[in-house]
């Protein structure tokens, strides 16, 4: 009961938070003055007329970081249950975790040596 009740309230909290933000935007939409004109609604750049679309291709190096992030984040998720039960498992868990982390550190060293971490 303790578990289900806690997560139920959390779900309600997320819904309420979204509702709070939406209510704030709606209130301002009701009360704010509306006087649009062509120049006001143009994209803010250095004062000149904007040229072209802003959705350009961006650098592939960002994707490299995203891939690295996925690998290490999954590692972190695997480590959470290990951390919680660590006390009960003792030496075996310690050695297992060290092996697990070392494999991933090996991956980090590989990426490092391949210069993917270099910001060009």
């Amino acid at each position: 009961m303790f578990y289900i009740q806690g997560y139920g309230i959390l779900f309600a909290f997320i819904l309420f938070s979204v509702a709070f933000a939406m209510a704030a935007i709606t209130t301002s939409w009701v009360v704010h003055p509306k006087a649009p004109n062509k120049n006001k609604n143009s994209t803010y750049e250095c004062g000149m007329k904007t040229f072209g679309d802003s959705r350009l291709q961006f650098d592939v190096k960002y994707y490299m970081y995203a891939l690295m992030f996925i690998i290490f984040d999954i590692e972190a998720i695997f480590l959470f249950p290990w951390a919680v039960t660590y006390n009960k498992l003792g030496l075996f868990a310690l050695i297992e975790a060290i092996v697990f982390i070392l494999i991933l550190v090996l991956g980090l060293v590989y990426v490092w040596k391949k210069d993917f971490l270099k910001w060009k």
Binding site: F2, Y3, G6, Y7, G8, I9, L10, A12, F13, I14, F16, S17, V18, F20, A21, M22, A24, I25, T27, S28, W29, V31, H32, P33, A35, P36, K40, N41, S42, T43, Y44, E45, D53, S54, R55, L56, F58, Y62, Y65, A66, F69, F72, D73, A76, L79, A83, V84, Y86, N87, G90, L91, L94, A97, I98, I101, V105, L108, W112, L117, W119
Partner: protein, 372 residues
């Protein structure tokens, strides 16, 4: 409280299912009030403190010493025209501030402000806080992309790259705390830091068994990463005023901008509370007993009143620790210049990540030598 609420419904012969559904509204109202008050106060504090550190006066027109400046700003933002440029993606442009703000607000319910003042006592509290608050990153990249502005897109991409890079050392040093406490439940983590390690009156103080002692490296890593997560100086590349004109929220105005603003300060508060809960013993006092217990133990006989005093004192201790950290972060803002993009990425992947793994190793060895 929950039982009392159910009893009222039973007494009035209303189906209790309505009570179960409507119950979360009350903690939420409390949380919303805390959030708004905290943010209004923090904005004023930051402006006054920055003024003090740069030998200016700061806001001093509205109310005594400019005390009501933030209220004036909030009302102004509510009544400002909400400009939406013609070539933005209208739907995403409106959704982005909501996605940025809502997770930060939901996380407030998971924080233990005192022994009995916690809205959601979830078993996986720490995990949920880290997970839910990282949803905000989607809001950053969405607002950058939807704005269709070069500044915003750059700010959004930078913000996302920075947030995911610093997420990993942050989470790994939080795992160190899970190892120390043997739990992800925040009240359990706090209780695990209470004293009583050795039989010595002085060394028995709580302060010597706070997690900051075994996880000192983790504390440093967590603090630096949280600065980056909430885009504070020196890691404020996504919203660098001087080059990107405040980055992903360049195009925003009115209430949508206010939501970004609100979420940033709310996140600043939540991250400082989290650091004090994880590393500085949360609501525990640094001594071996609560001061109010020492003072009132012989005067007040009623256990309930005594409990109330203890709870108030716990909130005071937590706020003291939190505001010291907030002061430190604002001081850093006044003192340090901004990092370069390549320095930023290298610092996370080549320095903080190995350091956080080292911290995890040290903490695991510590827990192995001194089991719970």
């Amino acid at each position: 409280m929950y039982e009392l609420y159910i009893k009222i419904f039973e007494y009035l012969h209303i189906p209790t299912i309505l009570a179960q559904i409507s119950w979360p509204v009350f903690p939420f109202i409390g949380v919303a009030a805390v959030l708004v008050i905290v943010v209004i106060f923090l904005v004023l504090l930051e402006r006054k403190l920055l003024a003090l550190l740069t030998v200016r006066k700061g806001p001093n027109r509205v109310g005594p010493n400019g005390f009501f400046q933030t209220f004036a700003d909030a009302i102004k933002l509510l009544f400002k025209e909400d400009i939406m440029a013609t070539n933005t993606n209208k739907i995403l442009f409106t959704i982005a501030p909501i996605i940025f703000f809502a997770p930060v607000m939901a996380v407030y319910g998971l924080i233990p402000f005192s022994e009995s003042l916690i809205a959601i006592n979830a078993a996986a509290g720490l995990f949920l806080i880290l997970g839910i608050s990282s949803i905000s990153t989607i809001g950053i990249i969405l607002s950058g992309w939807a704005s269709n502005n070069k500044y915003s897109l750059l700010g959004g991409i930078r913000g996302t790259a920075q947030a995911i890079s610093y997420e990993i050392p942050l989470v790994l040093s939080a795992i160190g705390i899970c190892v120390l406490a043997g739990s992800m439940n925040l009240p359990t983590i706090v209780q695990g830091q209470s004293g009583g390690v050795v039989n010595n009156a002085f060394l028995n103080w709580n302060i010597f068994s706070w997690n900051m002692c075994p996880a000192a490296i983790g504390l440093v890593v967590f603090f630096i990463c949280s600065l980056a997560e909430i885009n504070r100086i020196p890691f404020d590349l996504p919203e660098a005023e001087s080059e990107l004109v405040s980055g992903y929220n360049t195009e925003y105005s009115g209430m949508k901008f206010a939501l970004f603003f609100l979420a940033e300060y709310a996140a600043l508060f939540i991250i400082c509370v989290l650091i004090s809960v994880l590393f500085f013993g949360g609501y525990l006092s640094p001594f071996n007993d609560y001061l109010s217990l020492l003072i009132f133990k012989n005067i007040i006989n009623s256990q309930i009143v005594l409990n109330l005093f203890v709870n108030i004192e716990q909130i005071a201790w937590l706020m003291l620790k939190t505001y010291l950290l907030i002061f430190l972060i604002m001081w850093i803002r006044a003192s340090l210049p901004r990092l370069r993009a390549d320095q930023l990425m290298n610092f996370s992947w080549k320095f903080l990540l190995p350091l956080s793994l080292l911290n995890l190793f040290i903490v695991a060895i510590y827990r192995f030598l001194f089991p719970l």
